[in-house]
């Protein structure tokens, strides 16, 4: 029998502190779907996803009832479409995007990731097809998400890929200008993109994966915040320990639900992603955890240290809880999706530069940041290059999801709706990056020793 306190703790985490399973993501390999005809290819893709995917939403609902924990999203991640698109034209590649939208709608998932290209070293015809069609696909579909891997620690940084990505972001913003550039919320530019990430918009199904796999992302900033608040006088060592214990519990729930979902769907269980993923809900904020640690606002000096401790403690607790940890695993610091971050930007405590520093110690990157619509493509490329280089030199994933909001200026507000939230447009450094980024070519892979 369990202790009274244990049972009530679980209930409180779920009912009051927003503990939930953020996403159950079904990974599907599409490598066997390619046919010489695009119509047949699209049909094969839909059938392959449908085979297991048709039960995904129902499975999530059953588990929600059984364990009394909300499962917020069911999603699908597929093989990067660039790997399928080499034999087709751009017009045909777009049809793959539509097919993904149709099947996502049919099986009832809110996002499907993998309209992606891996260009960290160079471009194939398939990559070019996908890159050239991303803006149209994102503008003309609701559920399809795109990602571009422009760098790895082993291959270095493809500056041409970054410039291409910056142009895509700008064009996507313009094509979705009536929705304040919302299309850009569905595109992520990566360094060292993980092949088993369950979180959108960057999820895709890596080539090293099986035909089907279930990956799970848990959430729980609210739970961790409550723990930090419960120990106002604790020193940092003690605090790290308490966070670790909580991360253990959160991860265990994720693993339980993930394994059972995989079993019910008759597929392999992949990983639990440990990331603390905030939402615009009150109290479900990573910024507020940092503030609860004793910083006046997220972004104040000490923020990077606090975030480093938080991320590391979450990983330690999570790694103890599950042997199969993967994906991004750390803490997400999106701006628009986290009310605490938005507040910190509003009072002037948090800038893009500080966010960039924070990404050196947490899991992702510059995420859901709205910038003025008039920001030049070369500046966007410069921002991406800076962020990507942090990932490459540190052997970790970093990413950029940035929205140049058409017709709006720094200080104005933009509303993306739902989980994507509402935010203030951030100021961008005005000085030019043009000559540097336009040199193009590749930044060589970094040396793996002499690590100072």
């Amino acid at each position: 029998m369990f202790k009274f306190g244990e049972i009530l703790e679980t209930l409180k985490m779920i009912q009051e502190e927003n503990l939930d399973i953020r996403t159950i993501t079904l990974g599907v390999s599409l490598l066997d779907c390619v046919d010489s005809s695009i119509a047949k290819t699209c049909e094969n893709i839909k059938q392959k996803i449908r085979e297991k995917g048709q039960y995904l939403v129902e499975t999530a609902k059953k588990l929600e009832v059984k364990y009394g924990i909300p499962i917020v999203n069911a999603r699908v991640a597929v093989t990067p479409v660039s790997l399928l698109a080499g034999g087709f034209t751009e017009t045909e590649t777009i049809k793959i995007g539509y097919a993904l939208e149709e099947i996502a709608q049919e099986i009832g998932v809110n996002f499907i990731g993998g309209f992606s290209a891996l260009v960290h070293k160079g471009f194939t015809k398939g990559d070019i097809n996908v890159l050239n069609t991303i803006p149209r696909v994102l503008a003309e579909t609701e559920r399809v998400c795109a990602s571009i891997n422009v760098a790895t620690t082993r291959a270095g940084i493809n500056m041409d890929g970054i410039n291409f990505s910056a142009r895509i972001i700008k064009e996507t913003a313009e094509r979705t200008s009536e929705k304040d550039g919302l299309g850009c919320a569905k595109i992520v530019v990566f360094a060292n993109a993980p092949e088993d990430n369950p979180f959108m918009a960057g999820a895709f199904h890596g080539v090293g994966e099986a035909d089907y796999v279930v990956n799970v992302g848990v959430s729980g900033p609210g739970v961790v915040k409550r723990v930090v608040e419960k120990f106002p006088g604790a020193d940092l060592e003690e605090l790290a320990n308490e966070i670790k214990k909580t991360a253990f519990k959160i991860t265990r729930v994720g693993e339980l639900v993930g394994k059972e979902a995989a079993k019910m769907l008759g597929v392999k269980f992949g990983i639990v992603d440990l990331s603390l993923a905030p939402t615009p809900a009150m109290g479900d904020s990573v910024a507020e955890i940092i503030e609860a640690m004793g910083l006046e606002y997220c972004g104040a000096p000490g923020t990077t240290a606090a975030l480093m401790m938080l991320t590391d403690a979450v990983k330690k607790g999570g790694a103890m809880a599950s042997s199969m940890v993967g994906g991004l695993s750390g803490a997400f610091i999106p701006v628009s999706e986290d009310m605490g971050m938005v507040r910190a930007v509003e009072v002037g405590a948090l800038s893009i530069e500080k966010l960039e520093a924070m990404t050196a110690v947490c899991s992702v990157g510059l995420d859901m940041i709205a910038i003025p619509g008039e920001t030049p493509v070369s500046t966007i490329a410069g921002i991406i290059a800076d962020e990507i280089s942090i990932g490459v030199i540190n052997g970790k994933t970093t990413a950029v999801r940035i929205i140049p909001v058409p017709g709006k200026k720094a200080g104005e507000y933009v509303e993306f709706g739902g989980l994507l939230g509402r935010t203030v447009i951030m100021d961008v450094n005005r000085f030019s990056s043009e000559k540097f980024v336009m040199r193009g070519g590749r930044i060589p892979a970094p040396i793996q020793s002499l690590k100072n």
Binding site: F2, K3, F4, E6, T10, G68
Partner: protein, 91 residues
């Protein structure tokens, strides 16, 4: 294999809470394995470990009838499979 679940009842104390919950469970062929309860500041909290192996309702239907009963009695009644507690609180 025995399937167990935990029922938690939280709310204002009154006569007959346990009786009503137990009657509902008996009708659903759910065996009560353990009960513990406490009252703090007038707030009644009860936790029941039950065996649902031979329950004659689907889990979802059982959950619904418990929460409906809770609404009638102005209490919050939850049922969750025990695995979630085992996962969280046991190494």
């Amino acid at each position: 294999m025995q399937e167990k679940a935990l029922i938690t009842v939280i709310g204002e104390d009154r006569v007959g809470i346990i009786a009503k919950v137990a009657t509902l469970l008996a009708e659903a062929n759910v065996n009560i394995l353990d009960i513990s309860q406490t009252i703090t500041g007038g707030l009644f909290t009860m936790i029941m470990m039950v065996d649902i192996t031979h329950c004659n309702l689907e889990f979802e239907a059982l959950k619904k009838s418990l929460s409906d009963l809770g609404e009638q009695l102005n209490l919050k009644i939850e049922i969750q499979h025990e695995n979630i507690f085992r996962a969280m609180h046991r190494i």
